[in-house]
């Protein structure tokens, strides 16, 4: 009885430390600025999405089922997905929309650097569930035509930003 209690306490402390560590990695990030930038181009981007029955990020509740321990890994992987594939595959002709997309990309780049430091400190461990969620997203992206997939992925940024805000709450939006 005492051993089980001691074990549970240890697990609890470790998970708290892990969560606190993850949150500590994104303390300085202002997600509100990114959300405002997306709201300004959301209508234009989503209006071009003709495949409304298909989703990339929210397939089968991918992001909804991510555990706190995998948040850091999943966040890092999705940031890499957007930076390496979505922003590169999207061809935007409207300069105003392109400026907003660039602003969002810069914010994602900063977040990647912060998470990379956490990973170097071995604070961002990637488990199996995190790897699976990342693979699903890539598979959904691969099923569509590149431009449509990129366009749809840009249109689902609001889902991704909401997921980051929920999983990394406690960080001041300064």
């Amino acid at each position: 009885m005492k051993a089980s209690l001691w074990l549970l306490g240890t697990v609890f402390l470790l998970s708290s430390a892990h969560t606190l560590g993850l949150r500590r990695c994104l303390i300085a990030m202002d997600m509100r600025h990114v959300g405002e930038s997306f709201q300004q181009i959301k209508g234009a981007i989503q209006a071009q999405d003709t495949f409304q029955n298909v989703t990339i990020l929210s397939a089968s509740g991918t992001l909804h089922s991510i555990k706190p321990l995998d948040v850091c890994c999943v966040t890092k992987n999705l940031l890499a997905f957007y930076m390496n594939r979505v922003f590169k595959d999207h061809q935007e002709l409207n300069p105003q929309i392109l400026r907003k997309i660039s602003s969002i990309a810069n914010s994602f780049l900063y977040m990647q650097k912060v998470l990379q430091q956490c990973q170097e400190q071995r604070l961002c461990h990637c488990g199996e569930e995190a790897a699976n969620a990342t693979r699903i997203v890539h598979d959904n992206y691969n099923q569509l035509e590149v431009r449509s997939a990129a366009l749809k992925s840009l249109g689902e940024l609001d889902v991704f930003l909401a997921w980051i805000d929920r999983n990394h709450q406690g960080t001041p939006a300064s």
Binding site: M31, R32, G35, E36, Q39, K42, G43, Q46, A47, Q52, N53, V54, T55, S58, A59, S60, G61, L63, H64, G155, E156, D158, V159, A162, W163, D165, R166, Q169, G170, A173
Partner: protein, 577 residues
């Protein structure tokens, strides 16, 4: 596919105009849009009425039924779900709250609408954008106000929708960074009275310093999100004047008023008490009053023995008079009526041949001789009655308690006469006395007693003596009526001065006339040579001329102070035999 209500214009196939059955006007719209905008899923969004085939459908004049359905990209996998509550009757808007309760679980929804007319259906019109948690408008459930201790306490209740699933609360969906904008408005003004932001559901602000009705409304916000807030309904409260007039405030105010009235009353009382009674109100000081002047401390009068025999006939009353009370040169009087400040006196008329220095029987003239305000010993000195002569001059009006002797004879000028005032003495030429009856000359000298020599003061009242000579020019010493009966015949006053030889200088009359010259303060009577011999042997009195013990020059005569300011009042003049 066009929405129901849209029709193509007759002239152009691409120009479409939309008319809804309930709209009052036609509105031109480009292909693919109709107006007014529909409101699918609780949010205002413009609808693109482009059909799936891209071809416009024919327009029916009859209003069709609208069929609504919503499809989400969340857990539903993108499937559209029909909204049965909005599909029965033709409506232009539909509430999709109940079908989108999992919106906060990272879901995003589209809405679409289709017009149905019996068997015919239009194309679906889908919202252009997906509405998510970012599109949710934040509201508050209620605002409660309470006025306490000069503050308005407010409490904001988060929204509690009945349809919300378990666990879906405002605080769980938005756990942090709550912010509320509080606006206060004074009725009936529409502009905001004050506006502030608070970070908690409980807030407070001081009571506005005005009376009237105030309304408060609140708009929520989450600082980490871009969600818009909706103003709550106004909650008003009334600030009446009576709220400020509490029992405590009234008690304190009443006490302050009482204290103020008491202080004012006390001040008035003290102010009235400072007023002296009329009895103690002193009269206006005289411009010059040699009698009442302050004693000079630098001179100390020496006391000389006086022959008491000379004062034997003096009335005991006068002998024991309160001479010390006088501020003059020595004469004091307990009877103010006998005192005078006028330099007038009547010499006793003991020897008619003496020149009538004293005149008896003359009624007292209080106005010219005695003054009720005089504080001297009571010797009433009367102005000599000058016979108009060339060079003669009256000395009336001179305020001098001294003795002004004037030899009234023809040809005498003012300089030859002993004037009064300030202690000056009119000179008397010894030559004038030679040709006349010595007794008729009368009192030619000038006598002044020293201050403090109270024993020299002999009178307490006015003396009146008949001048032995009918010559009106001789100053006459007369007695006040009330003291006449008790007043014994004046005895020879040994204290009277004998004049010095002529070589003594005199003080300028001009300087002494009307004012006291300090230079003549130490002027000694002995220096008055022109007044002639003031020896008592030349004086004659009507009554018993008691021998006057004339003191040696160093005695009484020598003690006479040259201070002409404090001229003595002769209480009695006694002719020496």
């Amino acid at each position: 596919m066009r929405d129901a209500g849209c029709r193509r214009r007759a002239r152009s196939r691409r120009a479409w105009s939309c008319r809804w059955p309930r709209c009052s006007a036609w509105a031109a719209g480009s292909q693919g849009q109709c107006c007014p905008a529909l409101h699918p899923c609780g949010s205002k969004q413009s609808f693109s009425t482009t059909s799936s085939t891209g071809r416009p459908s024919r327009i029916r004049r009859k209003a069709p039924a609208m069929k609504w359905s919503c499809g989400g990209t969340g857990a539903g996998g993108g499937l559209w779900r029909p909204v049965s509550s909005c599909s029965q009757t033709p409506v232009l808007s539909c509430d999709l709250t109940m079908v989108t309760l999992d919106l906060y679980d990272l879901k995003g929804y589209h809405a679409r609408v289709q017009a149905v007319d019996r068997g015919r259906r239009s194309d679906w019109t889908v919202t252009q954008t997906r509405f998510s948690i970012d599109d949710v408008s934040l509201t508050v459930g209620s605002v409660e106000l309470e006025i306490r201790d000069g503050f308005v306490l407010g409490k904001i209740q988060p929204p509690r929708p009945k349809a919300a699933p378990a666990g879906h609360t405002y605080e769980r969906i938005f756990p942090q960074f709550h912010e509320y904008e509080v606006s206060i408005r004074k009725v009936p003004a529409r502009h905001e009275f004050t506006n502030k932001k608070v970070n908690h559901e409980n807030f407070s602000f001081p009571i506005p310093g005005e009376f009237g009705e105030f309304c408060v409304r609140v708009k929520p916000a989450v600082t980490s999100r871009t969600n818009k807030g909706v103003w709550s309904e106004e909650v008003c409260f009334l600030l009446a004047a009576k709220q400020y007039f509490t029992g405590t405030n009234l008690t304190i105010s009443f006490a302050l008023v009482l204290l103020l009235c008491g202080a004012l009353a006390l001040r008035l009382y003290l102010h009235r008490r400072q007023k002296l009674p009329a009895v103690l109100v002193f009269g206006k000081p005289h411009p010059f009053s040699p009698v009442g002047q302050l004693p000079r401390p630098e001179t100390r009068d020496t006391l000389h023995a006086v022959d008491e025999q000379a004062f034997a006939k003096v009335s005991p009353e006068l002998r024991n008079s309160e001479l010390h009370g006088s501020t003059d040169s020595g004469f004091g009087s307990a009877k103010p009526s006998l005192q005078t400040e006028e330099p007038q006196f009547l010499l006793p008329d003991a020897l008619p041949q003496a020149g009538g220095t004293l005149r008896k029987g003359d009624p007292p003239d209080p106005e010219s001789s005695c003054s009720s305000a005089s504080t001297d010993s009571g010797i009433c000195l009367q102005e000599p009655r000058w016979v108009p002569q060339a060079g003669g001059q009256e000395h009336g009006g001179q305020e001098d308690s001294g003795i002004g002797l004037a030899h009234h004879s023809e040809g005498r000028t003012e300089d030859e006469l002993c004037g009064s005032g300030g202690g000056h003495v009119g000179p008397l030429e010894p030559e004038a006395a030679e040709g006349e009856d010595p007794a008729a000359v009368g009192f030619q000298g000038y006598l002044k007693q020293t201050r403090g020599t109270e024993e020299q003061a002999v009178t307490a009242g006015c003396l009146e003596e008949e001048a032995s000579s009918a010559d009106a020019s001789v100053p006459q010493l007369r007695m006040c009526p009330d003291a006449q009966e008790a007043w014994p015949p004046p005895a020879v006053d040994k204290g009277y001065l004998k004049q010095d030889p002529p070589e003594a200088t005199l003080a300028p009359l001009g300087a002494l006339a009307g004012q006291w010259n300090p230079a003549a303060e130490e002027w000694s009577l002995l220096g008055v040579t022109s007044c002639g011999d003031l020896g008592t042997a030349e004086w004659s009195f009507a009554r018993d001329p008691a021998p006057l013990g004339v003191a040696a020059p160093g005695g009484l005569l020598g003690s006479f102070d040259a201070d002409l300011v404090t001229l003595p009042l002769i209480s009695s003049l006694h002719a020496s035999e």
